[in-house]
């Protein structure tokens, strides 16, 4: 069964196809959810809610763009919606104490694994983490981020820069 047949079967609510689609994307989407949630429990909530949205709205997928990209957007939107609904995007912890003028050695990113990077991202405060994920990983512009998160573009830029510097600092600490 190729991807198109799988999608068509899911549009017909075929339980076997639904399970197969879940098995195909669950681990990857769990990674997306974990990046936004910061902990496994909330990530599982996002994953569950996201797959229900995928199956309930799969009729609207018209094969424009990649299917994985369509699914990923659903999971990102699900996570953002939930974070916003639960007022988790406000940063309870400020990162102002960091020296933002310090020199950044971006090559440090090459020296850590993906799992280590995931763990460091999870330690960021929710607001910084969300902006970082949207900009650095998903490729949103600061303008789009500002619209989605109801913040200004400058706030988005500022939070991203700070998040990046903090991560760089933590990576160095990890190496020591």
């Amino acid at each position: 069964m190729n991807e198109r047949e799988l999608i068509e079967a899911c549009k017909n609510n075929d339980p076997r196809a639904q399970k197969r689609l879940y098995e195909t994307f669950a681990r990857k989407m769990m990674s997306v959810c974990l990046r936004y949630a910061g902990n496994r429990e909330m990530a599982e909530d996002f994953l569950q809610e996201g797959f229900i949205k995928v199956f309930s709205s799969i009729q609207s997928y018209n094969y424009e763009g990649s299917f994985e990209g369509w699914i990923r957007r659903i999971f990102v939107n699900t996570a953002l919606e939930s974070l916003r609904k639960n007022d988790l995007l406000r940063n309870g912890v400020e990162l102002d104490t960091l020296d933002t003028q310090q020199e950044v050695d971006y090559s440090t990113i090459d020296r850590i694994s993906a799992d280590e990077l995931m763990e460091l991202i999870a330690q960021l405060p929710p607001g910084f983490r969300t902006v970082f994920n949207m900009f650095a990983v998903e490729g949103y512009s600061h303008k789009e981020i500002a619209q989605v998160l109801h913040i200004t573009e400058s706030t988005s830029r500022s939070q991203y820069t700070r998040a990046k510097r903090v991560l760089q600092k933590w990576i160095k600490e990890l190496e020591q």
């Binding site: 879940y22 809610e49 694994s113």
Partner: protein, 400 residues
């Protein structure tokens, strides 16, 4: 943007774009339980299913009624003549006058005691001819053979041997007649004189005992995913209320105190469930067709007592669950229509007592026990959690 910035972002993207994380193995079950059901099955609306089940039930009822209607209450008398007797013995319907003459003739050669016996026998014989029992037994054959013997032409000239044989057969006949009377096969009044077609219609209502059980979250189909996600593997405790049934029955009276009963029975099941992340209730509706064989074993004045055994098939009509969550700031409530319920078979046995109110109208009370066979349905109800159940039926039936 500096080149270093772009390099950093590309590095992050390349590391995380294909990154995967392990997923809890039971998460799919929680997701699956909340997915919409297969549209192919959902295409059949409820009203069509109700109509379909009702039409099937009515068809079955009509067929059973026609078959029973066409079945004679009495079996035809068993053949008296065997193959060996063909051409030798001709059966002649005894005429009362002839019969009387032959009996009287025989009585003249007997003493006074014999005369009284013969007179009594005459009465028995006449009773036997007017009240032939339902089934032909060896006793009835004996009766007829005596009658034949006495009505045979030329039988008046008897030898002592003939008289001895005659007296022996007369005694046998008398004994057989008494046996028949003792067994109730020769009622004082015709048994079915007021029965008509032997069809009875009734209305009934029944209650069975409630139950409770613990089940996994699979039994809950909620629209609120956070209810299930909030706690891993929640266990729900079901409290099933007393099932309530009501229906109409049709009973066909059969020979020898037997009867066959069927009908349509609606059943309502209500349950409540609770766990540490949500409460809710469940309503289920069924339409059943029972089929029971009934045997009346005693009649005392206006009371009669009977035992019944049989089975019932219940068709799922509709059902829904109402969730009420109260989980840490994530609460809500919603209805979920339940689908895909399988047919439920059960076997049951009753003991009944009926009180005749007027003519053939009687009030009855039946304690029963039933066993509900596992039907692999995903919906939990009292039949699944407590398959062996006791109940009480109250009803009224009347005959035509």
């Amino acid at each position: 943007m500096k080149i270093d910035d772009r390099y950093f972002e590309k590095s992050v993207q390349s590391k995380l774009a294909e990154h995967e994380t392990d997923v809890r193995s039971d998460l799919w079950a929680a997701i699956e339980s909340q997915l919409p059901v297969n549209t192919a099955i959902r295409k059949v609306p409820l009203y069509r299913r109700v109509i379909g089940y009702s039409a099937a039930a009515v068809t079955v009822g009509i067929v059973v009624a026609i078959v029973l209607w066409q079945t004679p209450d009495h079996q035809l008398p068993a053949p008296i003549i065997t193959e060996n007797d063909k051409g030798v013995l001709e059966i002649v319907q005894p005429q009362p006058a002839t019969f009387h003459t032959s009996t009287a003739s025989a009585a003249t050669s007997l003493d006074s005691r014999s005369v009284s016996v013969a007179a009594e026998s005459e009465t028995e014989v006449m009773a036997s001819f007017t009240n032939m029992p339902t089934t032909a037994t060896h006793e009835t054959e004996a009766v007829v053979s005596v009658a034949d013997h006495m009505s045979k032409p030329g039988h008046t000239a008897r030898t002592p041997q003939d008289e001895k044989t005659y007296r022996q057969k007369l005694d046998e006949f008398e004994h057989a007649g008494r046996n028949l009377k003792a067994k109730g096969k020769i009622p004082d009044a015709p048994e079915h004189s007021q029965k008509g077609a032997g069809i009875q219609l009734g209305m009934m209502a029944a209650n069975a005992s409630p139950g409770s059980s613990q089940n996994s979250a699979r039994a809950i189909r909620t629209k609120i995913p956070t209810m299930l996600a909030a706690q891993h593997n929640p266990v729900y405790h079901f409290d099933h209320s007393m099932p309530i049934s009501a229906g109409i029955t049709v009973t066909k009276t059969l020979p020898q105190n037997w009867a066959l009963e069927s009908g349509l029975v609606y059943t309502y099941l209500y349950s409540k469930y609770r766990s540490n992340n949500g409460n809710g209730s469940q309503e289920l509706h069924y339409l059943g067709i029972p089929l029971n064989a009934i045997y009346r074993f005693a009649r005392i004045k206006r009371f009669s007592f009977y035992a019944a055994a049989g089975g019932q098939v219940d068709f799922y009509l509709a059902g829904r669950q109402k969730d009420e969550g109260y989980d840490e700031g994530i609460s809500g409530s919603g209805y979920k229509e339940l689908k895909h319920e399988n047919v439920q078979f059960s076997i049951q046995a009753n003991l009944g007592a009926a009180f005749t109110l007027y003519k053939q109208t009687e009030l009855y009370l039946e304690p029963y026990m039933a066993y509900y066979i596992e039907n692999n349905s995903s919906i939990h109800n009292v039949w699944k959690d407590k398959p062996f159940n006791f109940g009480l039926t109250l009803g009224i039936r009347t005959g035509f």
